[in-house]
Subunit: 376 residues, 4 copies
Amino acid sequence: MTNTSKKIRAAILGASGYTGAELIRLLVRHPNVDIVLMTADRKAGQPIDTVYPHLTGLGLPDLIAIKDVEWPGLELDVVFCALPHATSQEIIKGILHATGHDFIDEMIIERPSDYANAIQGSVKVIDLSADFRLRDTDVYTKWYLEYHQAPELQKEAVYGLTEHYREEIKAARLVACPGCYPTAALLALIPPLTGKIIKKDGIIIDAKSGASGAGRSLKEPNLFAEVSEGMHPYGIAGHRHSPEIEQELSRAAGQDLMVTFTPHLVPMNRGELETIYVTLQDGQTAADLRENLMTAYQDEAFVNVVAEDVVPATRHVRGSNQCLIGVFEDRVPGRAIIVVVIDNLIKGSSGQAIQNMNIMFGLTENLALEQAPLFP
Amino acid sequence: MTNTSKKIRAAILGASGYTGAELIRLLVRHPNVDIVLMTADRKAGQPIDTVYPHLTGLGLPDLIAIKDVEWPGLELDVVFCALPHATSQEIIKGILHATGHDFIDEMIIERPSDYANAIQGSVKVIDLSADFRLRDTDVYTKWYLEYHQAPELQKEAVYGLTEHYREEIKAARLVACPGCYPTAALLALIPPLTGKIIKKDGIIIDAKSGASGAGRSLKEPNLFAEVSEGMHPYGIAGHRHSPEIEQELSRAAGQDLMVTFTPHLVPMNRGELETIYVTLQDGQTAADLRENLMTAYQDEAFVNVVAEDVVPATRHVRGSNQCLIGVFEDRVPGRAIIVVVIDNLIKGSSGQAIQNMNIMFGLTENLALEQAPLFP
Amino acid sequence: MTNTSKKIRAAILGASGYTGAELIRLLVRHPNVDIVLMTADRKAGQPIDTVYPHLTGLGLPDLIAIKDVEWPGLELDVVFCALPHATSQEIIKGILHATGHDFIDEMIIERPSDYANAIQGSVKVIDLSADFRLRDTDVYTKWYLEYHQAPELQKEAVYGLTEHYREEIKAARLVACPGCYPTAALLALIPPLTGKIIKKDGIIIDAKSGASGAGRSLKEPNLFAEVSEGMHPYGIAGHRHSPEIEQELSRAAGQDLMVTFTPHLVPMNRGELETIYVTLQDGQTAADLRENLMTAYQDEAFVNVVAEDVVPATRHVRGSNQCLIGVFEDRVPGRAIIVVVIDNLIKGSSGQAIQNMNIMFGLTENLALEQAPLFP
Amino acid sequence: MTNTSKKIRAAILGASGYTGAELIRLLVRHPNVDIVLMTADRKAGQPIDTVYPHLTGLGLPDLIAIKDVEWPGLELDVVFCALPHATSQEIIKGILHATGHDFIDEMIIERPSDYANAIQGSVKVIDLSADFRLRDTDVYTKWYLEYHQAPELQKEAVYGLTEHYREEIKAARLVACPGCYPTAALLALIPPLTGKIIKKDGIIIDAKSGASGAGRSLKEPNLFAEVSEGMHPYGIAGHRHSPEIEQELSRAAGQDLMVTFTPHLVPMNRGELETIYVTLQDGQTAADLRENLMTAYQDEAFVNVVAEDVVPATRHVRGSNQCLIGVFEDRVPGRAIIVVVIDNLIKGSSGQAIQNMNIMFGLTENLALEQAPLFP
């Protein structure tokens, strides 16, 4: 496909969450994409602008319940799946078990696995849930307390950390986009672990996120009056992004490791900052660590190591697909501190998903993602 | 000029304020513009990314003091002037008094009026300060407590309220962009005053703005701890946007009028909301008012009257050039309420300036302004 | 009762809402009050510190469902009713229909009206809901879309706007505390209407409130990501506080009047600001208006007219029972602007309720309410 | 002095900062204190309510420049010094070098050291600056880049971490109140280091603070638009609270140690949260650590170890003198996480200062500090 050929026909499953809304916001500016389907079970039947008034006048289809989708005729090229974890598995299984047979017009889709008969064989799926991130189904079961419904696809899925899986993503049919916290942590830690700059033990990731990371679900702790003018950690020593981080860091280190990971909720909408404490390998310095990261990302448009006198702040990346990394020598000998920031809804979620789509379809990688950050 | 010809060479005077930063953020995405000069006296010598880290990696020139600009050779097509009021007058006077003579290389510019000899005769100026908004220099002197330094240009200047001065802007050499509060108020009130839907007397504009409207100046009331978790009015019955609003509304009404205008500071970065209380002319209804506004803006990309059951919120336009207008019938007979929202830094300032530039250069009006609002 | 006698035994019905929590926070510092009962149906069985960790270590009873309360033996002196509107009526009816008979021990309370037999005859009720504010039951039905269940008590109830109903409150058995918006509006407008300083027509109340005013209920518009970094009006020309304001202002003016009232949601926790636009009677000035208000409140501890050069801000009263009023002359002849601020949870709700309790029990009026505002 | 004797005559030097304002707010509620002097050089001559409108109507003296104070006749019992670091030394030196001689009326104080002759010999000084916290003047010079002007007093000064220096504070003439970050860190770490529960090496303190911690100084990074909707670390591996933390922890551990300490700025007014990562001594568990802290603070009113299922949040202590500590077992064997929260302006500054004053004057320790936290 070239930029001038017919547009990519995209579906967004779970369009009423913040992640879905962000996919829409970015994709409507993509020169090669048409959004032809948006599902949202609880908001089915509504136009998107009643659910998200900021998405008005964009010529988008109304929201529809997944069970009511008439898949034949949609001729989807790509499906973004922004559903809650556990719900994605069956649906994606159905979508990808395509037979390649002709579409059966007017067929009534009753079960997810019937999607297979209705969708063209070449559809690609980009999943933003946690369902296909963990390669080991036992680990999945342990952390998500459910058996995986599509273990064969979990094997096939490519982990969508763009800068480190670009080649695999190119060829993938199913990409599992990383969680927001893992995205930041892995971008900062994979190169120095691979390069033996830092020790695999004793890594501490102190993470801070804005409230949009909790989604649009109605829970007391998400109310304005509960979040504003205060902060607190949550999921201490038990957050589900831990095994995901460890899976990828162990792979980078070449041996199993565990990390200490503590997320915090901060009274801001967007933005994620991780302060990462690492121990340097003997003979290595913070300067070596910086050099290692600069080399790793020297050709990357969206990952940048900042100058020595700059401290990354979430507002430097708000509204953009940028990831900024700062490296600092600690006063304690042999230790260094890495500070990494992303916009959790963009590089940490929808933006990275679109970056992956661009790769999967042979497009320029930054299409729809060129916007400079919004400040103030 | 067509989209494929050589790019518009733009200067931003006063690039270190929030308005300047927003001009940069938007213009770097403009396909027809090259930013070739950015001035900032207090930050002279610095690259823009030390002043605004979110504007990193954009290939922009370093900041320079106005007095150090070597105008010859810049071959400017357009100058955006985002300087504090009163400072713009002399500078713009200098820029526009171009002789059309050849540039004198290596000339040393010592006084603003010397700009004239160094800048090509066809340069256009888009001023974002208050200096050229008021046509009556006595009114200017009364409200700004200074004599105007370029009264002849004040006469020439076109008021840059795009939707209502489009034809004049097309031909203008100097456009004076409206203040943020007037932009919202005038978009809501000019059509019904012109159309005799509402009475000219008793108009009350209760305005609310985010803190970025106060700029980046170091004043105690702008500190985070002073603004957050609270709100208050300011400039009650004395804000300098009052005469600007009255100038344009009087013109629309065909006779002099006064408005009650009260701005408030709200603990948010961006966004401006005006709740406007009006008295309907005898026989007119809120439905007529809505109809009047819908008709006025039916062909406009950036001004939209929302559906009857929608209440405009600043977050519906954050980060975009949109203006949303809602019309509501009051319980008190004969009265109506208009709610209008804009992003003060975009439609209220830099975005409208770029919209005007697009018009002045014969470009598609929404270039660099197509981005959907950012939410959450 | 004197300050040295036995303590007032207080119950808080609906202790799990923000209003209930604020009653607790303030009452635990009251030297004459013991909280002996706290109900919360959805949180029944929990200690208050799991619902509100900031209320830890205060020696309070666990939350209990209303239906499980064993009224005999509680020997309540006062009941604060912080329940949602409509639910208060039956309960308060039951409480107040006390027979004066001895308590029937071990009696099982099955219906609200049975409370009567279990509570001592002298119990006083301070209702913070809207149920007893409107004297006209038809008006209640029109605005709340329900028939009133205790119309005879609605007649008896005293409107708890302390500074204007102090004498009636002293003798009252049932006090209906005003809504937060009416509290601010009425304190500003009753004196000048009574004193014929301002005209009864054309009063416009543009109100702004923090998010705690919406309570702790789980609604999408109350989420942090929906509220922060934005603002909007709501309930335009239809908010239920309108008839309450009009009831009391009509009484002050001596004839029926209507007001234009528009509340807005502002991204802060606490605080309420009303910008009120009024027309002066012929011959009256803004200075007269100021004088009128200063005279009206000269002996009041909690209502203060600020100096001419001070602009009231919500942060000047945050965390306190204070109400500040500023008076400003408009540029438009014959018009004035009143700015009034309160903490919606204190003077606008729980604080005023306690102020009323102090009056009802012959205590010093500022007990538990002396705390200076919290800033920053 | 007993509670019924004449009141303590207090001075607040540096009353126009946030710390000074908070001292005032709390002390006006103190039954045994009269504020008889408040200085503020830049705001000299103003009443406090023009500087802090929330402190209106409290019957306080006007602000005065230090050089204009007429010390004789003030008969001060205690001086709270809330001046910037380095400025306190000379002034406190002057105040404490009292001769005990009679006051010389009408004496003109020209140099700080003259205070000595004017102030009664028994005055006590409570310093809230950093000037007397570090016992080693070389360390002071290294971190503050200045020579200490009162090294003999630095030796005398008692470190005002109330719960750990109570006996010394009782007898002290000069108390150096800890910084806000050290207060939280030391309360969490002194007991387990003293008790050999945790290792002295590898302690990581990831701290987060609200913007009031930066004071009321006019710096660009403190502006609302710079702070809101974002966060970032600062002073990485170089914050001046590091040597203070290390001084006290080394003392607790019985040998020198270094900590990794990273503060972050969070978009909230008040509140400080530290997430502290520690390594357990062999054989010790997180349960032992919790037990150790519970035992250490079992009799303390203001330091509380929360229940195992509670996560401390800054909003649990906002507006109060409380410190909450939570202990969590890490997934990584041998490691634990301590979460500690305080209100930086109260327990982290002015509240702890008043707590110390209460001790120094033999008063009940919680006078003026009993207020429950303010939420929401």
